[in-house]
């Protein structure tokens, strides 16, 4: 794949039109006024039929799982969404203006729904996954804690204790995307059987907002991604039944590591698409500014130092664009990148987006530092791409590990 297809271009244009009409008029409230993005995301889903497609694909999948569970022979696998371009284009276009909306959407219908889908029982999937995929309900995936970030499992302090047929959950989570507003929360904790923490099993539970003992904080103040509410969760003796333990078993299902890697791979493709949106937007506004901003009697685009900045941005755009194209082409062929390759893509794209956005601020001079000119926001937003979904350092480790294996 070397360019967007006619269908991709049609979708990109439709997304641009939707964003211009529905998002840009409320962008100030989304970015600076704590307006939650969920109603707008639901409108996006309904407008483009994304909710209906997700629902019908999910139901076909569940029917097939039921048939498999009943021992019926199922020859044909359920067709999934064949063209990853249709998933990545909304991410790219939204990221040009409000990358936080992508984070809110991705964590809800991606991470949270995937966590339940990967290991949940059919009944659990029917109960929680469908409304997450359609954005009817908002999901949060709660793993990070004040003292556990990249070392998520090693330093985890949240606990689950058995109490008869039930569990009692305790602990606090932080930096939880959608935490303040989530309807459905996947809470990850260690099973405390009195054994040393390092030997404890990792269990995941599904919690509903409003559960006794669960407190969802207000949105935290942060550097960027303001259209993505981030918060803390506090659990004090939250009592849940076994029906809320994902998989309804304490035994870790086989293939769990592969499942987690597939989720990470998907997440990292999404970050590359976000990076592309940010880079494209920065480049577009910078070219316009370089043509129109006059200093020393000529447009600043005439100066070679400005030209160099634009050229470097264009190189980054081409590289990240090609990585996104590769993701799409592999997906169309029913394949995906290796874990290390996805890590390399994420590492490069995140660094490129941050570098381009900061250089876009520089190119705009004093105007670039002002909120009125969009590059200031994109520079703040881009930085987190190097931190979440695995820090640069974690990606680097994954790449090196594969090289040295």
């Amino acid at each position: 794949m070397h360019e967007w297809s006619d269908e991709h271009q049609m979708l990109r244009q439709a997304m641009k039109d939707f964003i211009a009409k529905e998002i840009l008029p409320i962008k100030e409230d989304l970015e600076h006024g704590d307006l939650p993005p969920y109603d707008t995301l639901r409108k996006l889903f309904a407008t483009f039929g994304m909710d209906e497609m997700a629902r019908s694909t999910f139901r076909r999948r569940i029917e097939r799982e039921r048939a498999v569970a009943a021992g019926e022979v199922v020859d044909e696998p359920v067709e999934s969404f064949g063209d990853p371009g249709f998933t990545l284009i909304p991410i790219i276009e939204l990221s040009r203006h409000c990358p936080g909306m992508v984070t809110a959407m991705g964590v809800s219908m991606g991470l949270t729904a995937s966590a339940i889908s990967a290991k949940g029982t059919i009944a659990q999937k029917e109960r929680w996954v469908e409304p997450l995929l359609t954005m009817e309900k908002i999901g949060a995936w709660a793993i990070t804690e004040p003292n556990s970030g990249s070392d998520a499992f090693g330093s985890m302090q949240a606990t689950a204790r058995r109490d008869g047929d039930e569990y009692i959950l305790n602990g606090s989570k932080t930096f939880i995307t959608n935490g303040p507003y989530a309807d459905t929360i996947v809470f990850i904790a260690k099973l405390d059987e009195g054994n040393p923490p390092a030997e404890r099993k990792i269990l995941s539970f599904v919690l509903d907002a409003g559960t006794a003992g669960l407190e969802q904080s207000k949105p935290l103040r942060k550097m960027g991604m303001h259209s993505s509410p981030t918060g803390e969760l506090f659990l004090a003796d939250v009592r849940v039944g076994r029906d809320r333990l994902i998989g309804e078993t304490e035994e870790v299902a086989k293939g769990g590591r592969e499942g987690a890697k597939a989720t990470f791979q998907q997440e990292r493709s999404g970050v590359a698409a976000m990076a592309l949106g940010i880079i494209e937007q920065c480049l577009e506004v910078c070219v316009e500014y370089a043509k129109n901003r006059v200093q020393f009697g000529q447009p600043i685009g005439e100066f070679q130092l400005i030209q160099q900045k634009l050229a470097i941005m264009e190189v980054a755009r081409m590289n990240v664009s090609n990585l996104v194209f590769r993701t799409i082409e592999l997906g169309q062929a029913g394949r995906s990148m290796s874990f290390a390759e996805a890590s390399a893509m994420k590492l490069y794209s995140a660094q490129a987006a941050t570098a381009v956005a900061l250089e876009a601020v520089q190119l705009h001079g004093g105007n670039g530092y002002m909120a009125e000119f969009q590059v200031e926001q994109l520079a703040r937003d881009a930085k987190v791409l190097q931190i979440y979904a695995g820090t640069d350092e974690i990606q680097t480790t994954a790449i090196a590990k594969a090289l040295l294996a």
Partner: protein, 259 residues
């Protein structure tokens, strides 16, 4: 109910247009898109067919180089099929020639209703819809801001300077719609994926039984003798307030008939 919508594919207004110095017409050799003013007719047609519970929407278009980009957008919105007339002999066709071609293409279908925009965004003649109706021998209603179908006829609220006229018209007929008659839908994911496989019947002037000499430059009843850059906008009138500024502003607005 079957509805035909006349749609025009035009150069993207977001890109600066270019005039061909030889033909003195707009260059149309780049990718063309659906004229936004036609998206209202497409949406109206889809809503009327939905309300009727049966039938389908067919697009009719005339464009160079077998261009289908704009048609695919309308097909993605939900139209079922399209007829595209594309023929080198059509280069330079004027409004009446266009109407002849569209009327012949529409004649290949049996619509209950034909919809068109009031005028295209690149030509602005605004004469084609009435000409098509006349050539097809259909009654026509122009400037529709609202359309309802009821028992073999259409009820149209026709936009006027002062308000609207209520018009009833038997079907089949042709109605031209104003921008804002309805809010055009975005093409859905499903619609975009399905659009590629929807049928587009590509025909030539010969297929339509039209004499090539009666359309294009050869059949044109007009000639573009020259093209000039638009004159620079003149500076406005500055009113300095000497106590009577409000009266002079009121008089100025009154002269423009905007009060």
């Amino acid at each position: 109910m079957n509805v035909v919508v006349c749609v025009k594919q035009i150069p993207d207004p977001a890109d600066p247009g270019e005039l061909d110095p030889e033909t003195k017409t707009l260059k149309r050799d780049s990718k063309l898109i659906l004229d936004e003013s036609d998206s209202y007719g497409v949406e109206m047609a889809l809503q009327l067919v939905d309300a009727a519970g049966e039938g389908e929407v067919t697009l009719v278009s005339m464009a160079p180089n077998n261009e289908v980009g704009g048609l695919r957008t309308a097909l993605a919105m939900g139209a079922a099929s399209a007829v595209l007339v594309s023929d080198e002999a059509l280069a330079g066709t004027d409004a009446l020639g266009t109407a002849k071609v569209l009327a012949a293409a529409i004649g290949r279908t049996s619509p209950d209703l034909v919809l068109a925009a009031t005028e295209s965004s690149d030509g602005y003649t605004g004469t084609v819809p009435a000409q098509v109706a006349e050539l097809l021998g259909l009654p026509s209603v122009t400037f529709a801001k609202e359309i309802a179908v009821d028992g073999g006829g259409v009820h149209v609220k026709r936009q006027t300077e002062d308000g609207y006229d209520s018009v009833e018209c038997p079907m089949p007929c042709l109605v031209s719609v104003t921008a804002g008659v309805v809010e055009p839908r975005y093409p859905s994911f499903k619609g975009i994926m399905a659009a590629k496989s929807k049928p587009v019947d590509e025909v030539t002037v010969a297929d339509l039984g039209i004499d090539a000499g009666s359309v294009g430059w050869a059949g044109g009843g007009q000639e573009i003798v020259g093209i000039e850059p638009a004159p620079a906008r003149e500076s406005g009138e500055v009113i300095e307030d000497e106590g009577d500024a409000h009266e002079r502003i009121v008089a100025f607005l009154d002269e423009l008939k905007v009060l």
